[in-house]
C-alpha cells in the first residue's frame, strides 16, 4: 500500500502562540539558535489501490475541504516513497 502525506500549516500571517511557546522553551532546555517555531499537523494516509492522478486529486479535495481549513491553513500533498 502506498502512503500519501498531507502537511497542514497555519498560514504565515496567522499568529501561532503554540509555536511561540515551544520556541521560548528551547533556550531553557539548552537548545540555542532557533529564532522561530511554527507548529503544524501531518496526516499519513494509507491509500488502497494505485496512487495515480485521480487518487491524488481526491486527496487534494479531501485536504481542501476537511483536513485543512483554508481560511487559516495551507496544505501540501506528497507521496511518501
Amino acid at each position: 500500500m502506498a502512503r500519501v502525506v498531507v502537511d497542514v500549516m497555519l498560514k504565515p500571517e496567522i499568529l501561532d502562540p503554540q509555536g511561540q511557546a515551544v520556541q521560548r522553551a528551547l533556550p531553557r532546555l539548552g537548545f540555542e539558535g532557533i529564532s522561530d517555531v511554527r507548529q503544524g499537523k501531518r496526516f499519513e494516509l494509507e491509500v488502497e489501490g494505485p496512487v495515480d492522478e485521480p487518487a491524488l486529486a481526491r486527496i487534494r479535495e479531501m485536504a481542501e475541504t476537511f483536513l485543512a481549513n483554508t481560511v487559516i491553513e495551507d496544505f501540501v500533498v506528497r507521496v511518501d516513497s
Binding site: 496567522i14 499568529l15 502562540p17 503554540q18 476537511f66 481549513n69 481560511v71 487559516i72
Partner: protein
C-alpha cells in the same frame, strides 16, 4: 402558537440542556435535535450550542460541520432560517463558511472562564433585536479556542457592513482580531459568538443578571410576529 426552536446535540456537546432551558424561559418551545438526523422536525430556528463536539479533534467544529443535520441546517440557513451558534456552535458555523473567518487557540494558550463584558454592535439581527445598538451586556465566556481571525479584507468588510455583532469590552480575552466576540451574516439570520448568553438567563445564577435572555426573546418575537 409559539415558536419551535431546535437545539442540536452533537457527541461532546455540553450546553444543549442550558440552551433548551433558555429557549423555554423566553417562552418558546425547545426541540432537541440529534446530529445524525437530517430532519429538523419543522423548527422555526436552530441553535448550535457550546461544548467540545468530537473532542475538538482536527479543529474545533470541523467534524460536526459534516454531520447529517448540518446539511439541512446549511441549506435552510441559506434560505433564511435563523441560526445561532454559541461557542462551539460558532466554531461549527465558521467551519461551514456560513460565517467568515475562523477560530483559533487563545493567544495566551489558557482555557478561560469568566464573566465578560460585551458591546452589542448590531441590534438588527434575528437574534439581537431586543437589545439596542451600543448596549453593554455581561455574560459568561468559557473556551480555549476563542481567538477570532480573518484576513484584513474580510475584517474591513465586516466592519463596513455592520456585521461585527458583538465586541469584547475592557479586555480582549483571547487575542481576537479587532476585539470581535461575534458576527452575523449579511442577511442577519445567522449569528455566532463565543460568549454564552444561555448561561445568563436567570437572576439566581451566574452574573446575577439576565443579559443573555435577549437572544432568545429576540428570536421568539421575530418568529411569532412573522
Amino acid at each position: 402558537m409559539t415558536a419551535r426552536i431546535g437545539v442540536i446535540t452533537f457527541p461532546g456537546t455540553l450546553d444543549d440542556r442550558d440552551t433548551q432551558r433558555a429557549v423555554r424561559l423566553a417562552g418558546a418551545e425547545a426541540v432537541p435535535l440529534w446530529h445524525k438526523d437530517k430532519d429538523l422536525k419543522q423548527v422555526d430556528a436552530v441553535v448550535l450550542p457550546g461544548g467540545f463536539s468530537y473532542g475538538d479533534y482536527l479543529r474545533a467544529g470541523a467534524i460536526s460541520r459534516f454531520s447529517p443535520v448540518m446539511d439541512t441546517v446549511i441549506e435552510q440557513a441559506k434560505a433564511g432560517m435563523p441560526v445561532l451558534g454559541i461557542c462551539n456552535g460558532f466554531q461549527v458555523l465558521t467551519e461551514t463558511h456560513l460565517l467568515p473567518g475562523a477560530m483559533l487557540r487563545n493567544n495566551h494558550l489558557h482555557f478561560i472562564c469568566r464573566d465578560q463584558k460585551l458591546r452589542v454592535e448590531n441590534a438588527g439581527t434575528a437574534w439581537t433585536a431586543d437589545y439596542t445598538a451600543g448596549q453593554e451586556i455581561n455574560i459568561p465566556l468559557k473556551n480555549i479556542d476563542g481567538r477570532y481571525v480573518a484576513d484584513e479584507r474580510t475584517l474591513d468588510e465586516l466592519e463596513a457592513e455592520g456585521r461585527v455583532a458583538f465586541r469584547y469590552l475592557d479586555v480582549n480575552p483571547n487575542g481576537s482580531l479587532r476585539d470581535i466576540a461575534g458576527i452575523t451574516n449579511a442577511a442577519g439570520n445567522v449569528v455566532g459568538l463565543m460568549p454564552h448568553p444561555e448561561h445568563a438567563v436567570e437572576p439566581l445564577i451566574g452574573t446575577g443578571r439576565t443579559d443573555g435572555l435577549g437572544f432568545f426573546t429576540s428570536i421568539l418575537k421575530k418568529l411569532v410576529n412573522a
